[in-house]
């Protein structure tokens, strides 16, 4: 009995921790809708955002500088050369499952490439683009 309860608790807590990509899409979209009523995430806008040259960092002009144009392809760190697993969750299943990790990398990469934090709308568009890539 105790074991069963323990297993149950474990299963529940794992569920609480592992999120799905659409959870992030919904959360950021809802946040964006607060300032832009009727906001709906858009993959084409996300693609343009990802490949835009922001002119902030010479070595890291765009998100695609490390993640490539296609979210299903593995990327490459533009400074160190290290291989980066594809962002597409249908290729790399662990993508967009851990809230702390997703927020950490948005914070880091947006500051570096865009020169500021990304807005909830930009994050929602980006995720729509990434999960929609075929």
């Amino acid at each position: 009995m105790k074991n069963a309860l323990f297993a149950l608790a474990l299963a529940v807590s794992q569920n609480l921790w592992a999120e799905t990509p659409s959870h992030f899409l919904d959360t950021y979209s809802a946040e964006a809708a607060k300032s832009q009523p009727g906001f709906s995430a858009n993959a084409a806008r996300g693609k343009a955002f990802a490949s835009r040259n922001w002119g902030v960092s010479e070595k890291l002009p765009s998100c695609t500088a490390c993640h490539t144009d296609n979210p299903r392809n593995p990327g490459r760190h533009a400074v160190t050369g290290k291989t980066i697993e594809a962002l597409s969750p249908s290729v790399s299943t662990a993508r967009f499952s851990d809230p702390a990790k997703v927020e950490k990398w948005f914070k880091r990469n947006c500051k570096e490439v865009v020169g500021r934090a990304c807005s909830p709308a930009e994050k929602a568009d980006f995720i729509q683009f990434v999960i929609g890539a075929r």
Partner: protein, 156 residues
């Protein structure tokens, strides 16, 4: 029986100490996730404890990027790095500690010609995995070496 188990455990731990200067067997998972995403999770023995303290003190401005971690992770990583640090200090003259410009690293890599370091597949010495195929698992032994543009063979 107990002795057998102990020697089995020692055997299992041995590869990490097999003299390839790789990641120790007790490397915390957070070291690989936090310090192994932009580059390989570098073997702690390649810098001295005082260097690692400097590296860890400046993570928010780490080689032009923000590599900061939360306070608990920071304490755990620093303790691990101090415990496993080597005696080789970073090369002097760099603002942030580097081992790739240090005498030991340069000597170990003396057979790598300049054109190979500049090869687009390599991009520079920090891309360990370009040549050390086991780098993501912390292994740097000669058996897993494959250098782009260079017919590298183990010497006898």
């Amino acid at each position: 029986m107990k002795h057998l188990l102990i020697s089995l455990a020692a055997l299992a731990a041995a590869p990490a100490w097999a003299g390839d200067h790789g990641l120790p067997a007790n490397t915390p998972a957070a070291y690989k996730t936090e310090c192994g995403s932009c580059h390989a999770a570098f073997p702690p023995a390649l810098l001295a404890a005082s260097d690692w303290r400097r590296t860890m003190a400046g993570l928010d401005k780490h080689f032009g990027t923000d590599a900061s971690v939360d306070a608990r992770t920071h304490a755990a990583l620093l303790a691990f790095l101090e415990r496993q640090a080597g005696r080789r200090a970073a090369s002097p003259g760099t603002a942030e500690p580097r081992f790739t410009t240090g005498a030991w690293f340069v000597r170990e890599h003396r057979e790598v010609p300049p054109r190979v370091w500049k090869d687009p597949k390599v991009m520079g010495p920090t891309n360990c995995a370009a040549c050390h195929k086991g780098a993501d698992q912390g292994r740097y032994g000669e058996r897993e070496l494959s250098v782009p543009g260079m017919a590298y063979r183990e010497h006898d």
